[in-house]
Symmetry: C2
Subunit: 186 residues, 2 copies
Amino acid sequence: MSIAHHRRKQPELVRQQLLEVAARLSLEQGAAGVTLDAVSQAAGVSKGGLLHHFPNKMALLNGLFDDLTEKLDRTIELEMRSDPVAHGRFTRAYLSCVFAMTDEADAQGWQVLTIALLSEPQLRERWRLWVTDHADEFVGTDSSPGCLLARFAADGLWLADILKSHDIDQPTRQAMRAQMLALSLQ
Amino acid sequence: MSIAHHRRKQPELVRQQLLEVAARLSLEQGAAGVTLDAVSQAAGVSKGGLLHHFPNKMALLNGLFDDLTEKLDRTIELEMRSDPVAHGRFTRAYLSCVFAMTDEADAQGWQVLTIALLSEPQLRERWRLWVTDHADEFVGTDSSPGCLLARFAADGLWLADILKSHDIDQPTRQAMRAQMLALSLQ
DNA sequence: TATAAGATACCGTCTGGACGGTTTGTCAAG
DNA sequence: CTTGACAAACCGTCCAGACGGTATCTTATA
């Protein structure tokens, strides 16, 4: 007989809201802040409601993972289409994504995921699979030491952004980006 | 009347044991596996015993951090002494440490720290301080984009080792190391 | 097209267990 | 005989998940 029962049902929106809130919470309060109570409350849903959409906490994190890797895959594919050079094409697309994420505000979701990834063995494994799958797929064009190095550097930059351990000015950032692009052609 | 009461008292050894176990546990079961109960039990000490050495959990993690950064600082300083070239000297020392850690078995401690670092805001801040302190100290020799890039790449490689997301053969590894060294001279 | 009959989308409470930390007690060494 | 190094029992809190319910949506059938 509560209000929430009477409001219009919009499952997909609620689901999206839950994922979004989960990402935001872990950003603001660390991974420990992602509790079912906190997430559901911040999303304006009861805990029961949350557990209806995601049967357990792991499913919530997996949902986050799915969402973000799907988006990443789409962006990478798009980026690769507009790259005429075959060698290092995937690497350059990856670079674009990382720089886009560190520059803009969309980083949130990925930042939470990185943290959750490292603490949760199950998600670590899923990420490992993502990486090896893509490495295998583009083994012909993106397996040179230069390409590997470029991707590693991107990961390092990304990590630094998460930890806010460096304060890199824009010119330096661009210089590094140019270097990474050069590496991807080696 | 228990065994531990009768065994020779060796507080420093127990302390070291506790730190070691904490590192191992987080490796095997993720950061969530590092509970006071689990650590103390695996170290063959009661929880009271653990809390005697470290008044709370944060103190345990801080102890780990201190231990490892001290060792890192010592290694870096040693490495820097034997480097005749000023430019990028710190970066190359950093590279040596990372490669040594990823090659050998000593990585464990740092791996746990990375994970704990990301989840624990307090440790994240301490790491940030470590990085900025060293960046400031060597701003004259190690602040070029090339040096930064080299260090980022090392971080990325290190992260990959933690996540075991890549399986890099030794030749590729050495090739990348050579590239990073070249970058440190730019 | 109206409506009965599910199916789906929630709500709110409860519980069992884990976990960080405290307290009190015990033993051994100096 | 004091102090440091532990043990063991205990406490309060927090949290994941179960459960039983209720309201809305959909679909099939008459």
